[in-house]
């Protein structure tokens, strides 16, 4: 038995999906044209306009900012670099506040160059989040940890399962609601504990839900994500687990695809996402 198609109003776009062809302003206009209700920019995108201008443009188009992606990257060999990451994350929190983003999704970071100390890198992530949490509370910004696919452990992020992310939430924010998690199906679809951990997270900790697909034939782990429906992920099943756990937020499309979708006309990409959202998600 399959669940009903998702509410079309919940479709949102992560700017990375069309990052090769459109500026932030063009993405905002594109989202409005295709009747998307939410947008999730990466922080690098804000450099083009600044957070205030971006906030004005987004609000003018009637879009919600479902998430701002950025900050974090806490592990570093030198204390000075670790402090710089903390300071930068505080600025990212301020940007998220200006944008009225539903959450700031942290890029946690991983092993510093030359290091093999994975437990140590994970401690630096924990300590880094701990250092910015009060600033987030003060700014009224909710933080989200996004577990990264284990294939990203060496290069991008060393929080690699939902269980690990939720353990961090419990340790740093017990009983609180300042810290939560992002469920990106590309990163977590393989996890035998996925259902149990989504349930454990519950409405309180589930901050964002990202969709795309894992292509069966994919070899490139960084920029060969599939359009929803073209891969092996049972998207309606994962969505049903999110909904059972109380998640009512947006479904944010994030497709990093150097060989295919990044090359296409972004209007075609946005139209395809809308159709697939209704037919296979």
């Amino acid at each position: 038995m399959r669940n009903a198609p998702p509410d079309p109003e919940l479709l949102a776009l992560n700017t990375a999906t069309v990052r090769e062809k459109w500026t932030l302003r063009e993405i905002i206009e594109g989202c409005a044209r295709h009747r998307y209700r939410g947008i999730a920019p990466s922080r690098e995108r804000l450099v083009q306009t600044g957070a205030k201008e971006a906030a004005k443009a987004v609000r003018g188009s009637g879009l919600a900012v479902t998430a701002l992606h950025g900050g974090g990257r806490f592990p570093a060999s030198e204390r000075k670099a670790r402090q710089a990451a903390i300071d930068d994350t505080r600025r990212a929190i301020d940007d998220a506040a200006v944008l009225e983003a539903r959450c700031l999704v942290l890029a946690e970071g991983t092993l510093p160059e030359g290091s093999k100390d994975l437990p140590g890198a994970r401690e630096m992530v924990r300590d880094g989040i701990g250092e910015v949490l009060d600033h987030a509370r003060g700014a009224g910004v909710s933080l989200a940890i996004e577990p990264q696919h284990p294939a990203y452990c060496a290069g991008q992020g060393c929080v690699n399962t939902l269980a690990q992310a939720l353990d961090l939430c419990d340790e740093l924010d017990r009983g609180g609601a300042a810290l939560g998690v992002t469920v990106d199906v590309y990163h977590v679809w393989w996890d035998p504990q996925l259902r149990a951990q989504i349930e454990r997270a519950g409405e309180k900790r589930l901050r964002a839900f990202q969709i795309s697909d894992w292509l069966r034939t994919s070899r490139d782990i960084f920029a060969d994500r599939g359009m929803m429906g073209d891969g092996v992920i049972d998207l309606p099943l994962v969505r049903s687990w999110m909904e059972e756990a109380g998640y009512r937020g947006f479904h944010e499309v994030e497709i990093l695809s150097a060989g295919n979708w990044w090359r296409r006309d972004p209007d075609e990409v946005l139209a395809t996402c809308r159709v697939r959202h209704q037919t296979v998600c």
Copy 2:
């Protein structure tokens, strides 16, 4: 504090490491020449000579067969194909007995073509192992489940963590010793639960230990493994966990490397592995 270098007598070679240049017979001769004490062939290699001839050649060179890799691949859409995989695995068990292999490492398999039913594929793996376990007990062959890196979940294997493999052992072989696990650092190095699950496995379930490295810059998840020492895995740390858990078996080198090590002279590869085993493992 680092542990002492490993016992050089424990070095073993998985035939896949030099599969592009040497036949099985050449690999056996090469292992003897480089004073390796153990060899782990993949079952496809036996086709060249048959299991009996291979067993004779291996024994004649004084090598132990640390593992035979093959069998399994249980999930399939049709009942007939599932039965064929079970029958084939029973023959692989017989081959392992002829070779006096310390264990048969199963390739568990994953989603059948066109399927997105990951929980269903996992059930087929469980059922398949259940079907061959008595045959393994009768043949005196120990089976090992090898958790596959989550990036292999769509294409190769749907048992993706040591915890999941050990849950299968407990379910199918409670209190027994017919079923165990293989720890391949390439597949499991990222796992936040690695130490705890190695400890949980203990001497009873730890059947094989495979070494290579994860290259920081790797994009190709299938054939870009690194030589020990060239990547980010803390090999002495993982080995210390294996030893603390009671593992006293071989250290089997398995490097799948289309762009680098497969292209080199296998004598250079074997010599390099021997040096690295002593210096960085």
